[in-house]
């Protein structure tokens, strides 16, 4: 029988669907009977889901134009070589 500790140890791979069918079935029968592990699995899955939807940080215009100016200088220098 799987313990809660065993379950938590496999949780990431379980949520990433990267386990073989046999172990997956064992984990599923564990959470069917263990409300705590079910809640942990559910809220961890939702944690990952919420973060996946985050947008990249917008780069402020002044930061971007400094970057582009620096790159242009670098490109010009490289061409001179």
């Amino acid at each position: 029988m799987l313990t809660c500790k065993d379950f938590l140890h496999e949780l990431s791979d379980y949520l990433d669907h990267s386990l073989d069918a046999d172990l997956r079935a064992k984990l599923e029968s564990h959470i069917a009977e263990c409300p705590n592990c079910w809640v942990i699995a559910d809220t961890t899955r939702r944690t990952i889901q919420i973060y996946k939807g985050m947008d990249p940080y917008p780069v402020p215009a002044d930061v971007q134009s400094r970057l582009m100016d620096a790159l242009e200088r670098k490109m010009a220098a490289k061409q001179k070589k």
Binding site: L11, V39, I48, I50, Y57, P58, V59
Partner: protein, 206 residues
């Protein structure tokens, strides 16, 4: 024959053109990844000014060393590695009293500590405005130890594979996996404080 527009050009082609000295092609690569690099830099340095420097240094170094980029890896994985190194150098400069490394030994006690178990509301994120939610999510990430933070950002926000994350951070695959598990569990716990179903009391577990 019409050339594909820059915005939809294949990444390998853009890299090849950049190597030939095509500044517009490299500009397109910058445009594709600057937001992600900027976010990563802010999460690692936790300092806005440093993150701006890291962003600039990353793309300047990438351009300079473009001939060292092996086509086998993704371009993004390659620049992430540069960005992480630049960000760590900033951290070291700020904390001259101790060295900072993503390889530093981390607490190897229980790898799965769960203190609070509480079910969440159906759609808890709807209780918050977009700005409030962004603040909650960012603050939670900032509360993670740096080695967990960068693994989580690359794996679960940027959606790199375990192998790509290991490659970008110079870590082993088991190290990425164990850090990811801890990061996910710690974030779950931090978010639970905001998202748990009203009326549910936390109870001790394990």
């Amino acid at each position: 024959m019409t050339a594909p527009s820059l915005a939809e050009a294949d990444e390998a082609l853009l890299v090849a053109q950049s190597r030939e000295g095509d500044g517009r092609a490299f500009g397109e690569l910058v445009r594709r990844y600057e937001g992600k690099i900027f976010r990563l830099a802010q999460h690692v340095t936790q300092n806005r000014e440093d993150a701006e420097d890291v962003l600039q240094e990353t793309f300047l170094k990438a351009y300079e060393h473009l001939d060292q980029f092996q086509g086998a890896a993704k371009f993004y994985t390659w620049i992430v590695r540069i960005a992480v190194n630049q960000a760590l150098m900033k951290l070291r400069r700020r904390r001259t009293d101790r060295s900072v490394s993503l390889d530093e030994a981390i607490d190897t006690g229980e790898d799965t500590i769960v203190r609070e178990v509480a079910a969440w509301d159906e759609n808890p994120e709807q209780r918050f405005s977009r700005a409030e939610l962004g603040e909650i999510l960012d603050t939670a990430i900032q509360g993670l130890e740096p080695p967990y933070r960068s693994v989580f950002v690359l794996r679960d926000i940027d959606e790199l594979s375990t192998e790509e994350t290991a490659d970008a951070l110079g870590l082993s695959i088991p190290a990425v996996k164990s850090r990811l598990l801890r990061a996910r569990l710690q974030l779950r716990e931090k978010l639970t404080r905001h998202f748990k179903r009203k009326g549910d009391d936390a109870f001790a577990y394990l």
